[in-house]
């Protein structure tokens, strides 16, 4: 793609999210989300193969539907209450409609079916932008919804955790696994929103760090399938040692960072007298842990059959930019001991 066009698209991605972040009026917030959708479409089609075009079309349909529903909810709110302010959604109909529209935007169950298909058709870098940057603007709006009835959020969250775990069970394509992992983590974030919005933000930021590390790891060894993952242990041995820790952090095991949001969310749910829901969410994330363990098993814990030349790629001198991965992998693995600091940062 020509550099001028490429920079216009990247700048517009930044502009869209910034507009949504800076807005108090629903119209401007919707505009920012639409700019994001529009700007990422050519980035998704830059490979020009039919699978990418199919993924782009599916993404566009899902996002356009969700944006139209969001605009309808905003206009209905203005019609019923006369308020255009984002914080003033008091009518139950428009509040629910806004929640559902934003849930479809970010890919929560039961509005999640576009997510694995779209991720599968993209290269890893575009998938990374889709999983991380494109979630920020809708989350900014979700954070500002003040729910009076937590039922919608609990349903969306619990269903997403279950679907994210169960759906990723039989997958061998890494991009689909990453999509289902995204659905599951978003489920945890939405689950705690009516009770403690700072925990939602905490879960979001830890998820962004963790998924960035995993995507970068896969990009470095250039693998998109479990088969090619199994023979990529020799490419960057240090990475082979770190990836299981990143995966187990995504799975939420102590003493890694990924345990932090789950722990605090379970604690908050128990305090709100919702222990069965907390138990169900915790048990459902065992499903996700299964496929994270399977990935670490294939990459690090076993050596599948390969010819001897497959054990030597580490001797070559590759051009890697490993700084982002180094930074995010460090935060993914080692942040649990400073939990009180992180809590103070988020609840101040």
């Amino acid at each position: 793609m020509a550099p001028f066009v490429y920079s216009t698209l990247i700048i517009s991605l930044g502009l869209g999210t910034t507009t949504t972040f800076a807005s108090t009026h629903w119209y401007l917030a919707w505009m920012g989300i639409e700019i994001n959708t529009l700007a990422i479409i050519p980035l998704m089609t830059q490979n020009h193969n039919p699978r990418a075009i199919e993924a782009t079309t599916k993404y566009f349909f899902a996002q356009a539907t969700a944006s139209a529903t969001l605009l309808f909810a905003a206009v209905s709110n203005a019609f019923l209450t006369g308020e255009w302010d984002i914080l003033q959604i008091n009518h139950p109909l428009t509040s629910t409609l806004t929640t559902l529209a934003l849930a479809m935007k970010i890919g929560l169950a039961p509005l999640h079916s576009w997510m694995p298909e779209v991720m599968q058709g993209l290269n890893l870098l575009t998938g990374l932008i889709l999983s991380t940057w494109q979630k920020l603007a809708p989350f900014c709006l979700i954070y500002q919804i003040q729910p009076d009835n937590p039922n919608v959020f609990i349903t969306l969250g619990l269903l997403s955790v279950i679907v994210g775990g169960w759906g990723g069970f039989n997958q061998v394509q890494l991009r689909k696994i990453l999509a289902y992992s995204s659905i599951a983590h978003l489920g945890w974030m939405i689950l705690i929103l009516p009770f403690s919005p700072p925990l939602t933000l905490l879960a979001l930021f830890t998820y962004l760090m963790m998924t960035f590390s995993l995507f970068s790891s896969f990009m470095l060894v250039r693998t998109t399938h479990i088969n090619s993952l199994s023979t990529s242990w020799a490419k960057i041995p240090t990475l082979t040692a770190c990836v299981p820790l990143i995966l187990l952090s995504l799975g939420g095991l102590p003493p890694l960072t990924g345990f932090l949001p789950k722990w605090l969310i379970l604690q908050e749910l128990t305090k709100q007298d919702l222990a069965p829901i907390a138990t169900l969410a915790a048990l459902s994330s065992l499903f996700s842990l299964y496929f994270y363990l399977r990935l670490s098993y294939t990459m690090t814990l076993t050596m599948p059959p390969n010819n001897p030349a497959g054990t030597l790629p580490w001797r070559l001198n590759p051009q890697h930019n490993t700084l982002p991965l180094a930074l995010t992998a460090t935060t993914t693995i080692f942040l649990l001991p400073i939990t009180p600091t992180i809590l103070a940062l988020f609840t101040s």
Binding site: V5, L15, I35, L38, I41, H48
Partner: protein
Amino acid sequence: MSYLMYILLFGLVLGLVAVASNPSPYFAALGLVVVAGVGCGVLVGSGGCFLSLILFLIYLGGMLVVFAYSAAMAAEPFPEGWGSWPTLRLMVGYVVGVGFAWGLMGKFWYEEDWLGFDGVVELSVLRGDVGGVSLMYSSGGWLLIGGGWVLLLTLFVVLELTRGLSRGALRAV
């Protein structure tokens, strides 16, 4: 006056039904022309004369004309018209849907005042929308620049999606 609005809105809904049940793009564009025309009439009746003028000029005279010419370039000699049985089924289905929605929501329309302007509406000299346009150029200047940027972005997006002939995104080009 309310009889005129009633006729215009009736035409709007029928035109939208025609657009949604269109058998080929040319007739959908024709339906859109009708819808935009009566929609402009509804806007004028609600007090938004300037908005109606802009809609006519830009939407009908700019975008629809461009669409009609592009569709004409891909024309087929015998396009399917509205006189076919599947189209009739679709139209009846949409009209039933509209009736259903009217039954559900119909009683709300007459009780609320859905006009956002100053209250002296109908075909009077306006205050609402031209004032809004002048605001757009003064305090809303940054939003205008943002809107212009988004238009440029849309141009780049469309050009990027359609270039490359058969090696590009749309292989049929």
